[in-house]
């Protein structure tokens, strides 16, 4: 009797597997989700030297671009202003990845660093962060300044779990930017502008603004101002513990390989 039951179960499992297989096959053949069918892009010249604003990135993502798991990375093309299918990680179609806890750690695309998601791909990029306001970042740093591992710029040492100079300060206890009350705990404060931490206490300190610089996969450059990780909220006063996250809002300017300065001409 038991054996018979098992037989049926295997039979059922077999049907399930077949069903799943056919589903998968049909998906990949005709709806554009197959990475082989997503067209590559040619970088448009008009993308350079203008201020580009990206709002609430990470909300509605195309199929295949959505990370499968909480800590799986999100890939974004600064030159194409679009997310990239996760199957394309070993290509130069993406310039910046967000990975790690809540995908809040940024990295560039570099094929020669084993610690990079684009390892063995054609990417020649990297990332760095400066303690300088976005508007004041003019000179493009030397290529040797860029760091190539994935997920190396995120939390700032001013807050909890800091990882060097970061683009956001994690206020674990809510007492760095506020009074420590419940709704202000566990907030990630982007450090785009000059900020004051522990205001009014003996620990008070002013933090300089942070600006990230990415060398793109294809060798161009972008300066990036990370503004918010909360949906539709760009004013730090509005960030609360339960505000929807993570939705990246940021601004950037691209400069062509060979240029020495960031400038906005259009």
């Amino acid at each position: 009797m038991k054996r018979l039951k098992n037989k049926y179960r295997y039979c059922f499992q077999g049907v399930l597997i077949l069903l799943l297989l056919s589903l998968t096959l049909s998906c990949s053949s005709d709806d554009g989700r197959d990475p082989d069918t997503e067209p590559d892009f040619v970088t448009d010249e008009s993308i350079f030297n203008r201020l580009i604003t990206v709002s609430n990135l990470g909300g509605e993502l195309p199929e295949g671009h959505e990370p499968m798991d909480e800590q799986d990375p999100l890939y974004y093309s600064l030159e194409n202003e679009a997310t990239v299918n996760t199957h394309y990680k070993q290509t130069d179609r993406w310039d910046i990845s967000f990975s790690g806890i809540y995908r809040s750690f940024a990295g560039g695309n570099n094929g020669s660093d084993v610690a990079n998601l684009g390892y063995k791909g054609p990417g020649v990029g990297g990332i760095l962060i400066l303690e300088k306001a976005f508007d004041d970042v003019i000179d493009i740093p030397d290529d040797s300044e860029f760091r190539t591992p994935t997920g190396i710029i995120g939390t700032d040492d001013a807050g909890a779990f800091g990882n060097g100079i970061g683009y956001y300060c994690y206020d674990f206890g809510g007492d760095i930017f506020n009074d420590g009350s419940y709704e202000y705990q566990h907030i990630a404060y982007c450090l785009a502008d000059t900020t004051t931490v522990y205001e009014g206490t003996e620990k008070e300190r002013t933090l300089l603004p942070r600006t990230m610089i990415v060398k793109t996969a294809k060798g161009n450059y972008a300066k990036i101002k990370m503004i918010s990780l909360y949906k539709d909220l760009t004013d730090p006063d509005e960030w609360k513990r339960n505000s929807p996250h993570v939705y990246y809002t940021f601004q950037y300017v691209l400069a062509k390989a060979g240029s020495s300065k960031f400038e906005i001409t259009q």
Binding site: D69, E70, Q71, S99, G100, I101, Y102, F105, V114, A115, P149, T150, G151, I152, G154, D157, A158, A160, F161, G162, N163, G164, Y170, F172, G173, G174, D175, G180, Y182, Q185, H186, I187, A188, E202, N242, P244, H245, V246
Partner: protein, 239 residues
């Protein structure tokens, strides 16, 4: 559905989820204390961190917000708490301590150093200290790195490893809700007195259990081991 729930828990992970440091099971390395003793190293078991600290409001029985920092001296295992301004003034800028356990759950460890702003020893006496990460099992680290390596190390503290390549002593997984110590990772240290040492951080859980499934398992209680070469040489052999 699960995805949505998890996203709403951003950054509550340390509290909602137990601090489970899952020891390597089935091997003979650092499980259950016994094997930690090598006849040379000092093994510290269940050193209590700030067990009254919390991030406030959420956890029963936690009496205050935030976690007090404590200092630790390798030579005599002296633990010093920085509970107030007077404690900080008395200790922080001295060379009388080697390690500071800071941050949430005291999990972020600094080597006393005068040169980095966020180091509790900032502007103090420990001007020449440094820490170097070595991705090798503790017992196989036989020699301290060169002074050049110490001088050029960019590690400012030993805390959370955001990826396998990041410096840090524990991972946190959103899938398993378990914080896992990075295995086969050793910290070579140049101490305030110039001596060389090696350190392995093993567990933040009371009893250093091989596996924890109870959400309320007591933490932080630190298990770690270290060896200081007293003759000033770079020899760190412990077997």
């Amino acid at each position: 559905m699960r995805m949505i729930i998890m996203v709403n828990r951003w950054f509550m992970f340390l509290l909602l989820i137990p601090w489970m440091l899952q020891s390597c099971s089935g091997s003979d390395d650092t499980v259950d204390g016994g094997d930690l003793d090598d006849g040379f190293s000092t093994v510290v078991r269940d050193l209590p961190g700030d067990t009254n600290g919390s991030m406030g409001g959420d956890v029963d029985g936690k009496t205050k917000q935030g976690f007090d920092t404590f200092l630790f001296r390798l030579s005599d295992q002296k633990q010093v708490w920085l509970r107030n301004e007077a404690d900080s003034a008395r200790w922080m800028k001295t060379a009388d301590w080697d390690l500071a356990f800071t941050g949430p759950y005291n999990s972020e460890v600094f080597v006393n150093n005068a040169n980095y702003f966020y180091n509790p020893g900032y502007e103090g006496e420990a001007v020449n200290t440094s820490v170097v990460m070595i991705d090798q099992p503790y017992e196989t680290v036989n020699e301290a790195p060169s002074d050049e390596e110490f001088d050029t190390s960019e590690i400012t503290k030993i805390g959370w490893a955001t990826s396998a390549y990041d410096d840090g002593w524990f991972f946190y997984s959103m899938d398993t809700h378990i914080a896992i110590p990075v295995r086969d990772r050793t910290w070579a240290i140049r101490l305030p007195d110039g001596k060389y040492a090696k350190l392995e951080l093993i567990s933040v859980y009371q009893g250093n259990p091989p596996e924890v499934t109870n959400m309320n398992w007591p933490a932080p209680y630190f298990t770690f081991r270290y060896y200081v070469q007293e003759d000033g040489s770079e020899n760190l052999k412990t077997q």
